[in-house]
C-alpha cells in the first residue's frame, strides 16, 4: 500500500521540480558518489585514517530529503554523514579536509569523518553513537517551537538505531510535544553485519510510527524523487504545526559498514541486484527519457564534479595540520 502510494508522490515530485532543480539534484548525487569513491581511494592510500563509513548507494535519501527542506532547516545525522553534509551545502573541500584531519576541515580536524558540523549550513552534526542524534533533533525541534520560528528538523539515522531506547524516547517526546521533526530512517538492511530481521522484531520499520500516533511511510530510498516527495509532505506537516513523522527509506550501501569491513555477510547476488538499482543511474535514465535532458548536459555535470572532487583532494592535501599548541582548544567556551 505504502509503496503504491509513493509512486504517485514520486511522479508528482518529478513534475514539481523544475529543470534546474532536477539537474542540481543530479549534481549533488554525483558529487556525493564521486566524493565517497575518492575518500575510499584516499583511505587506501593512508591519507584518511580512523573510521570511515561511506554513503555510496544511499545518495537518493540524503539528496531527496534535503531538497525538500529550506536552507534554514536543521539536519541532524549519524557517522555515515558525508552525503547529508554535502547535500546540505558543504563544500567537498571542507569535508575532504576534515577527513584528512586538517585545520581547514569543516570541524577543524577535531572531529574527522564521523563528526562533521556547520552551524551556518544548519548541519547540526554527525554523531557516532547509534541513535544519539535523535534526542538532539527533538531538542532542536523544541527550540524552534519555543522561539515560535518556522524551521523544521530532519533527523537521519540507520535501521540499527530503531532498537535503541533513544529512538523510542525521542519519538514519544516528539509526538507528545508535537515537535517539528521529520525522522528519516535509512534502512539499508544491515546494522554493521546484522540483518534487520535479526535485530528488530518489526521488519516494517515505518510501522514504529503507529504506537506514537504519528504518520509513518516507507519509500523507495533508491528513488530520489520518492524520497523528495515523502519528505516534502512530512516537512509541510511539521512546518504547519502538525508534528513529527517517520519515513523509512529502503536503501542499500554499496560498500561495507566501514572501510575495514570486507562485507562477508551478504551475497554477491544480493549486491548485484541492488547495484542494478543504483539511484544515480535511475535518475540519469529518468532525466534522459522523461525530462528530455541530453547526454551532453549530464556528461558536463559529471566532468565538473570530477574537477570539484580533484580540487577537494588537492585542497585537503595541501592544507596545514592543526597546530600542536591548539590541542586543547575548544574543550570549554569559558
Amino acid at each position: 500500500m505504502a509503496l503504491e502510494r509513493d509512486k504517485h508522490v514520486a511522479q508528482r515530485a518529478l513534475l514539481t521540480l523544475d529543470e534546474a532543480q532536477l539537474l542540481d539534484v543530479y549534481r549533488k548525487m554525483v558529487t556525493i558518489r564521486r566524493f565517497e569513491e575518492k575518500a575510499a581511494e584516499m583511505y587506501t592510500k593512508g591519507k584518511i585514517t580512523g573510521f570511515c563509513h561511506l554513503y555510496a548507494g544511499e545518495e537518493a535519501v540524503a539528496v531527496g530529503a534535503i531538497q525538500a527542506l529550506y536552507d534554514k532547516d536543521y539536519v541532524v545525522s549519524t557517522y555515515r554523514e558525508h552525503g547529508h553534509c554535502i547535500a546540505k551545502g558543504a563544500e567537498p573541500r571542507a569535508v575532504m579536509a576534515e577527513l584528512f584531519g586538517k585545520e581547514t576541515g569543516i570541524s577543524h580536524g577535531r572531529g574527522g569523518s564521523m563528526h562533521l558540523f556547520d552551524p551556518v549550513l544548519r548541519f547540526m552534526g554527525g554523531y557516532a553513537i547509534v541513535g544519539g542524534g535523535l534526542p538532539i533533533a527533538a531538542g532542536l525541534g523544541l527550540s524552534v517551537m519555543y522561539k515560535e520560528e518556522q524551521e523544521i528538523v530532519a533527523c537521519f539515522f540507520g535501521d540499527g538505531a530503531l532498537p535503541q531506547g533513544a529512538f523510542h524516547e525521542s519519538l514519544n517526546m516528539a509526538a507528545l510535544w508535537n515537535l517539528p521533526v521529520v525522522f528519516i530512517c535509512e534502512n539499508n538492511f544491515y546494522g554493521m553485519g546484522t540483518l534487520v530481521q535479526n535485530a528488530i522484531s518489526q521488519e516494517h520499520l515505518y510501522k514504529f510510527a503507529e504506537p506514537y500516533k504519528i504518520p509513518g511511510v516507507r519509500v523507495d530510498g533508491m528513488d530520489v524523487l520518492e524520497v523528495y516527495g515523502a519528505v516534502t509532505e512530512a516537512a509541510a506537516r511539521a512546518r504547519e504545526g502538525d508534528g513529527p513523522s517517520l519515513i523509512e527509506a529502503v536503501t542499500y550501501r554499496f560498500r561495507g559498514h566501514s572501510m575495514s569491513d570486507p562485507v562477508e555477510y551478504r551475497s554477491k547476488r544480493e549486491e548485484r541486484i541492488w547495484l542494478e538499482r543504483d539511484p544515480i543511474k535511475n535518475l540519469r535514465k529518468k532525466l534522459l527519457t522523461e525530462r528530455g535532458q541530453d547526454e551532453t548536459t549530464l556528461k558536463q555535470i559529471e566532468a565538473e564534479v570530477e574537477d570539484v572532487i580533484e580540487d577537494a583532494v588537492r585542497f585537503a592535501d595541501e592544507s596545514p595540520e592543526p597546530r600542536l599548541e591548539d590541542v586543547s582548544k575548544h574543550v570549554y567556551v569559558d
Binding site: 563528526h115 554523531y127 535523535l134 538532539i136 531538542g139 524552534v144 519555543y146 514519544n172
Partner: protein, 323 residues
C-alpha cells in the same frame, strides 16, 4: 539578606534567571504540576506556564538530549533529573554528547545546558537511590561540575551556571534542601572555580564540598576542643577545581584530609589528593587522608547506612591520628 533554605535559594535563582532571560526554561520529571520531587521548582508553573516549566515523560536520555539540542538551538535549558542515580540513564547524552560536542565540532557550537540533580544518602533509600556520583562527571572533560553546600552558593552558582556557555552538572544534596542560611537578595553571583575558606586554621586542612562541608565544620569544632586548629575549605566546584586555594592552605598546615560522600576508591578525593601531592609534596608533614563512603552499595538499615557514610567523628579520628 534573608535567611532561607537551600531549596528556597534554588527556587529564587530559577525565578530570577527566568525573569531575566526569556531563553531560560526548565524541564524534567515532575517539575511542573508536582512542583518538583524535592519541591525546588515549586510554584514556577503558575508563574511561567507550561512552555517554560515542562513536565516530561520518564525518559532521562531524551530529556537530557533534548536539553542538548535546545541549547544548540539557542535556548538556555535547565534539565532537572529527579536524582543523580537516574543520570546514568542519560549518561550517553551527558558524556558522549554534551561534553564532547564543542570540541569534536572544532569549536563551532556550544552547549549551555544546566543539568540540576540531587544526590547523596542519609534517608534510608537503599542502594539505588543514595549514590554520590560527582566523580563520574569530574572525570569527563567538557563538563563543569558545581556542587554547592550552602544556600547562598546554591543560588549564586546556579545563577552563574545560567550565564556561562558550557554544560554544567549542578549537583545538589538531598539532605541540604531544608538547611537554612543567609542568602543575598536579588543579584548574587558566585564565580565558577573559586573555593571558599569556611574556617581558618593552622594545624590541618579539611577539604570538602556539598553536605560533607557541614560534617567538616562540626569536626573542626570538636577538634578545637582538643586543641587542634583546623582550616575548612568548601570547594564549591569540582570543575573548575580551585586547587590553588587548597595548596595555599596545605603550605600553611602541612596536613590535608579530603572529605567526600562518593565512594573512597576513585572518588573526587583521590584526584584532589593527587593534585595536593603534585603541587605541595614538600610542604606535607603526613600523607593526605581521605574520609569517604565505604566501597560498597549503601545499605537500607539505618545503623548500617550511617556506618557506611563519612561522619564528623571519622574526620576527628583521622585528624587526631595525624597530629
Amino acid at each position: 539578606m534573608a535567611e532561607i533554605s537551600y531549596r528556597e535559594a534554588l527556587n529564587q535563582a530559577l525565578r530570577e534567571e527566568m525573569d531575566r532571560d526569556e531563553r531560560v526554561f526548565i524541564m524534567g520529571e515532575e517539575v511542573g504540576y508536582f512542583g518538583g520531587a524535592f519541591k525546588v521548582t515549586d510554584g514556577l508553573l503558575a508563574v511561567y506556564g507550561e512552555k517554560r516549566v515542562r513536565d516530561t515523560p520518564i525518559s532521562e536520555l531524551v530529556i537530557v538530549g533534548a536539553g542538548v539540542g535546545a541549547a544548540m538551538g539557542g535556548l538556555r535549558p535547565i534539565v532537572e533529573l529527579m536524582t543523580v542515580n537516574f543520570s546514568l540513564l542519560a549518561i550517553d547524552q551527558i558524556v558522549n554528547h554534551a561534553a564532547k560536542m564543542r570540541y569534536m565540532f572544532g569549536g563551532k557550537t556550544k552547549v549551555p545546558l544546566v543539568i540540576r540533580t540531587p544526590q547523596g544518602a542519609g534517608h534510608q533509600l537503599g542502594a539505588q537511590h543514595s549514590q554520590s556520583l560527582e566523580a563520574y562527571f569530574l572525570h569527563c572533560p567538557g563538563l563543569r561540575v558545581a556542587i554547592p553546600a550552602t544556600p547562598a552558593d546554591a543560588k549564586g552558582l546556579l545563577k552563574s551556571a545560567l550565564r556561562q556557555e558550557d554544560p554544567v552538572m549542578f549537583l545538589e544534596h538531598e539532605s541540604l534542601y531544608s538547611v537554612k542560611g543567609e542568602v543575598p537578595d536579588g543579584e548574587h553571583l558566585v564565580p565558577f572555580g573559586k573555593a571558599n575558606v569556611m574556617r581558618e586554621g593552622k594545624d590541618v586542612t579539611i577539604v570538602s564540598y556539598s553536605k560533607c562541608v557541614y560534617d567538616s565544620m562540626h569536626a573542626a569544632e570538636a577538634l578545637e576542643n582538643d586543641g587542634v586548629d583546623a582550616e575548612v575549605i568548601d570547594l564549591r566546584m569540582l570543575n573548575p577545581l580551585d586547587i590553588g586555594t587548597v595548596v595555599e592552605s596545605v603550605k600553611k598546615t602541612g596536613k590535608a584530609i579530603v572529605v567526600y560522600e562518593g565512594w573512597k576508591t576513585g572518588g573526587a578525593g583521590a584526584e584532589i589528593a593527587a593534585q595536593i601531592y603534585e603541587a605541595a609534596f614538600d610542604h606535607l608533614d603526613a600523607p593526605v587522608e581521605r574520609v569517604a563512603t565505604l566501597d560498597q552499595p549503601i545499605p537500607y538499615n539505618k545503623h548500617l547506612e550511617k556506618a557506611a557514610l563519612p561522619s564528623a567523628a571519622d574526620i576527628v579520628k583521622v585528624a587526631e591520628r595525624m597530629m
